[in-house]
């Protein structure tokens, strides 16, 4: 497989066939918590895409240029979560200082991201899949885009639920979870497409 096709395959599978939220069950908490309002879904997705891309790049560099030479690969979980926490703080400070408009739209979501499982998952999976630098960055970016897609789609679904009237015991969370099941069923339709497209 050539480099470009591999990148396309990563991008396609991260957004559709291997979507973090709807197929792999990663980052369900913000998916259920934030998707109530359209504005916050978009803001959260933007912040996740931004941090995931950066985190993929930074952790790849740290792993391959610091941890591998020192033979401390087994510490990856500890080091990555600390790197992510520091990175989120750093991004927050930089945005506040230099990119005020971007900070105003993403700022409030940044503190929520340190403990977002998707960010830690993408950095660890980049390493276990032995991606190179460019592949890792694309993986982080498109996994974030996939998260955003799921989030915004589900936000629309929830808007429709609000107008529906489910049985009393299903009101609130249970019907939301059932709707999530139906949303994720649509993503099952993509299974197998990636293999056929990029063989």
């Amino acid at each position: 497989m050539t480099g470009a096709t591999k990148l396309l395959l990563i991008a396609f599978s991260m957004i559709f066939t291997e979507n973090y939220v709807l197929v792999q069950f990663i980052a369900i908490c913000p998916f259920l918590g934030v998707s109530k309002k359209f504005d916050s879904s978009v803001g959260m997705s933007g912040a996740v895409i931004f941090v995931m891309t950066l985190a993929s790049a930074v952790t790849w560099l740290i792993y391959n240029f610091i941890m591998v030479p020192l033979h401390i690969e087994y510490l990856s979980t500890i080091i990555f979560i600390l790197v992510i926490a520091a990175l989120v703080q750093f991004v927050e400070i930089v945005l506040k200082k230099f990119l005020k408009p971007l900070y105003n739209s993403l700022g409030i979501y940044l503190p929520l991201i340190t403990t977002n499982c998707a960010v830690l998952a993408v950095t660890l999976l980049n390493i276990s899949n032995t991606y190179n630098f460019l592949e890792s960055v694309i993986d982080g970016l498109t996994a974030g885009v996939g998260f955003g897609l799921a989030m915004i789609l589900f936000c629309g679904v929830r808007k429709a639920i609000e107008r529906a009237k489910p049985p009393k015991c299903f009101e609130g969370l249970p019907i939301t979870l059932v709707a999530a099941a139906l949303t994720s069923m649509t993503f099952m339709g993509f299974t197998g497409i990636a293999d056929a497209l990029f063989k």
């Binding site: 918590g33 403990t115 977002n116």
Partner: protein, 235 residues
């Protein structure tokens, strides 16, 4: 009112069950509950991390400065997670490969960090130990209950024992949509059953008040962050 030891222990199993009532850490519950074996392994791993981190954080609660407490908690939790990862990889390689990324993701599991912040950083070592154990058992019970149903319908077995003959399985229950669906239906059934008995069962997304580290981003949390920023600006 001071709680008795027994109350602290059972709090996590019934009253404040982390998964069903607080909806914390539901990623791993939904993803791992495909087989009972995996669910038991995940429950054991989480309980170990929860008890370990609760005890250590409770021991260190007077030393850790308030401002950097979250990173400190994360380091303690990540240490225990790395321990669990190494132990399962060495002694239970099958379990290790079936849990996959979700073993490492215990680090960011809201239950562990939530208990550290809400309980262990304020209470004695013994109480924190009991709290961790109770919460861990509460998690394990729920994940196993869901796993029994999912394994039965998706592969026709319970803990590897065949119950439904081959060819009569409903594959989708074992996949992602089935996880969401079963969890939602389980919750609705509980609300219905307890409602008939006259008891109230009220699942809320995540809110046990441990806003400081929650990543759910509910309205309260966002208002909180906005307020924090305003006070900072005033300073």
């Amino acid at each position: 009112m001071k709680k008795s030891k027994w109350q602290i222990f059972t709090n996590g199993i019934f009253k404040e069950n982390p998964v069903l009532i607080l909806l914390l850490g539901c990623c791993s519950v939904l993803a791992i509950s495909v087989t009972v074996q995996g669910a038991l392994g995940m429950g054991a791993a989480l309980t170990f991390v929860l008890v370990g981190s609760n005890v250590v954080i409770s021991l260190l609660r007077k030393i850790i400065p308030d401002k950097v407490r979250i990173p400190c908690f994360i380091v303690v939790i990540a240490t225990f997670v790395t321990l669990v990862e190494m132990i399962t990889e060495a002694f239970l390689p099958d379990l290790y490969s079936s849990l996959g990324i979700f073993l490492a993701l215990i680090v960011v599991n809201c239950i562990v960090l939530g208990r550290a912040e809400m309980f262990a950083s304020k209470n004695s070592v013994g109480d924190s130990f009991l709290d961790g154990l109770g919460m861990g058992i509460g998690y394990t019970v729920v994940i196993c209950a869901i796993a029994v149903v999912r394994e039965l319908f998706a592969s026709g077995t319970i803990y590897g024992l065949r119950i439904i003959p081959e060819g009569y399985q409903i594959g989708i229950i074992g996949q992602t949509p089935g996880g969401f669906l079963l969890f939602g239906v389980a919750m609705a059934v509980l609300i219905y059953a307890l409602g008939k008995k006259g008891k109230k069962f009220d699942p809320r997304i995540g809110c046990d008040g441990s806003c400081g580290n929650c990543n759910l981003g509910c309205e309260n949390r966002i208002q909180d962050i906005k307020k924090e920023e305003e006070t900072e600006v005033e300073k």
